[in-house]
């Protein structure tokens, strides 16, 4: 009697074996989507941003600092060509 009143627990059986695990799986996929897939995208953006920030001091606006960089570059090139010539 009890069994037929509860439709032989078919609904409850499906609920426990399919619906609940299915929802858990879907929840897992949704977390995967926001943490891993989107996280990777935002991670790449973050790395680019950090590179930009770390290069920011180079653009100081001081002509003397640009001048120093320029001189250092010239010296570097001179050394490069001189040593290459000797090879």
């Amino acid at each position: 009697m009890n069994a037929s009143e509860n439709a032989f627990w078919v609904d409850r059986f499906y609920g426990k074996t399919i619906v609940l695990p299915g929802k858990k799986l879907a929840q897992g996929m949704a977390s995967f989507d926001s943490f891993f897939v989107d996280g990777a995208v935002n991670g790449v953006a973050g790395v680019v941003k950090r590179i930009g920030v770390s290069l920011k001091p180079l653009q100081s606006g001081y002509v003397r600092s640009y001048g120093a960089t320029f001189v250092a570059g010239v010296i570097g090139l001179v050394i490069f060509f001189l040593t290459r010539g000797s090879l």
């Binding site: 929802k23 996929m29 949704a30 989507d33 897939v37 995208v41």
Partner: protein, 507 residues
């Protein structure tokens, strides 16, 4: 020379945008009606295109004028059976989006102008037959959409707008390199530069080169579709965009990706297309199941519809890379179907938001009692989206599944799970939002759809039923163009279309 229909169709929305901008700023009551009336002109023009379009392969309404002769760039426009339905869809969705934008308070003139400029760009993309012209329109579209999301979006709009822009711009940069490479190849082979689509079709490209070009074009379009795993801009952009933005984004802009595959990747790089179709099909099937599964557990109604798009677009891609008549036809018609049904769903969610200022499913309940017309339209759109026989979604999904079963049975079988999952996420959402008693006091007195809002859905409902019951009206026009793509693949590779046919063989 014939009347330049397509140029006019691109120009009319631009002029409409200018007219809306020069309206007196203080006459706010004029802005929306004027924009709405002007946006009906392209519908009429597209109707003429539809009526005069002959069901045959090749481009029609072709117009060509040299732009930069030295580089072989020309204003070359023309449409085939793949572009025509998408242009129709664009022109229909724009007035609907405008009519649904009454709640835009921040500079409505600029907003309406942006929507109209977006329309011009979309029509341009679908009719361009010069790769530079195509690329310019493809990029130009980003600008109005960037502002639509960034200015008129919700709280997190700047983040979403920048993400959307960077994602797409990254893909476009790759594609631009591909376009230039194509033109260089053309110059090496023939001695003259050209960006002309028909010209480039005659190129015989080495398989190794094809693979590279397929990849760079493919990535650009895969981001637009969006395919798993480059889909993450979509939920953000959709959730943040205002209703009109979401409708046009999902309705038309996503199809730029699937259209790109059909227009460029398949015909220009047939060898690579055949070789890498399993990769694309795998990502498509992952998208179908994954998008649907993620949609199930969304708590935000708009995000749910956004993830459902990932799933639906997976179907379209699966159909496209099946290289069968049914698969390609199903893919093209499903592009239109998705635009109509998802457009309707975004409009509904938008109207609900205007009333309750929330999109969270948990905030609703029992709305069927308080707003029966709204609930009815929602359920109808839901059924169309799930693909109930007799409604448009069924036709597309069925053709895609039949078409892909012929080439890739296992993929088609897994994809069928997407149909079931769609029923789960949409009906479960319907249950939580609409059924039962309105147990929260805020849900007791929500006004139902007014006349304006009801009228917005009339054309969409007519289209859902028409395409569901008599899809031939579009399929007739689509088929010769999709058949031409398969013929081309068969002629240039050793691929042979499987002879598995349902109903009468098309030959």
């Amino acid at each position: 020379m014939d009347f330049p229909m397509l140029s006019v169709l691109i120009l009319v929305p631009v002029l409409a945008a200018v007219i809306v901008m020069v309206l007196p700023a203080n006459r706010t009551e004029l802005h929306l009606p004027v924009a709405l009336v002007l946006s009906l002109l392209p519908v009429g023009l597209a109707g003429v295109l539809f009526a005069r379009f002959e069901s045959a392969a090749g481009f029609q309404f072709v117009e060509q004028a040299a732009l930069i002769e030295r580089w072989g760039i020309s204003w070359h426009l023309g449409i085939d059976g793949i572009a025509l339905p998408l242009i129709l869809l664009t022109t229909v969705l724009v007035p609907i989006s405008i009519a649904a934008s009454t709640s835009i308070a921040k500079s409505p003139q600029l907003f309406l102008a942006m929507v109209l400029l977006l329309e011009a760009g979309l029509i341009g993309v679908f009719s361009a037959l010069d790769l530079i012209v195509f690329f310019v329109f493809f990029e130009a579209i980003l600008i109005p959409m960037y502002f639509i999301i960034g200015i008129w979006g919700s709280e997190n709009r700047i983040y979403a707008a920048i993400k959307f822009f960077l994602y797409t711009a990254f893909g476009s940069a790759l594609m631009l390199a591909g376009i230039i490479a194509l033109s260089v190849l053309q110059q090496q082979k023939t001695g003259f530069a050209s960006f002309d689509y028909n010209e480039l079709l005659t190129l015989e490209i080495a398989p190794g080169t094809q693979a590279w070009l397929f990849a760079v074009f493919g990535i650009a379009f895969a981001i637009k579709v969006p395919m798993f795993p480059v889909h993450t801009w979509l939920p953000d952009a959709h959730v943040q965009a205002p209703t009109a933005g979401s409708v046009l984004l999902a309705g038309v802009m996503l199809k730029l990706g699937t259209y790109g595959f059909l227009r460029f990747n398949l015909p220009l790089f047939p060898d690579a297309a055949v070789k890498y179709a399993p990769v694309v099909a795998t990502l498509a099937v992952i998208g179908i199941v994954y998008g649907a599964a993620v949609a199930i557990v969304q708590t935000d109604l708009k995000k749910l519809v956004a993830y459902s798009s990932v799933s639906h677009l997976g179907f379209i891609m699966l159909g496209i890379v099946a290289f069968t008549q049914s698969g390609l036809d199903g893919g093209v018609i499903q592009m239109v179907n998705h635009g109509i049904t998802t457009g309707a769903l975004f409009l509904l969610v938008g109207m609900l938001y205007e009333r309750r200022h929330t999109k969270l499913i948990a905030d609703f309940g029992g709305l069927q009692k308080t707003m029966p017309i709204f609930a009815g339209v929602f359920l109808f759109s839901t059924f169309a989206s799930i693909g109930l026989p007799g409604l448009n979604g069924f036709v597309g999904e069925f053709l895609v599944l039949v078409g892909s079963y012929a080439t890739r049975p296992v993929f088609a079988i897994i994809a069928t799970a997407g149909v079931v999952l769609a029923a789960i996420y949409l009906l479960w959402a319907y249950e939580r939002v609409f059924t039962g008693e309105p147990d929260k006091p805020e849900n007791v007195n929500v006004p139902d759809l007014n006349l304006r809002e009801t009228l917005i859905f009339v054309p969409l409902i007519i289209l859902i039923l028409t395409l569901g019951l008599y899809p031939k009206v579009l399929l007739n026009r689509i088929e010769p163009s999709t058949a031409a793509i398969i013929d081309r693949i068969e002629a240039t590779t050793d691929f042979v279309e499987p002879t598995f046919v349902i109903g009468e063989p098309s030959e």
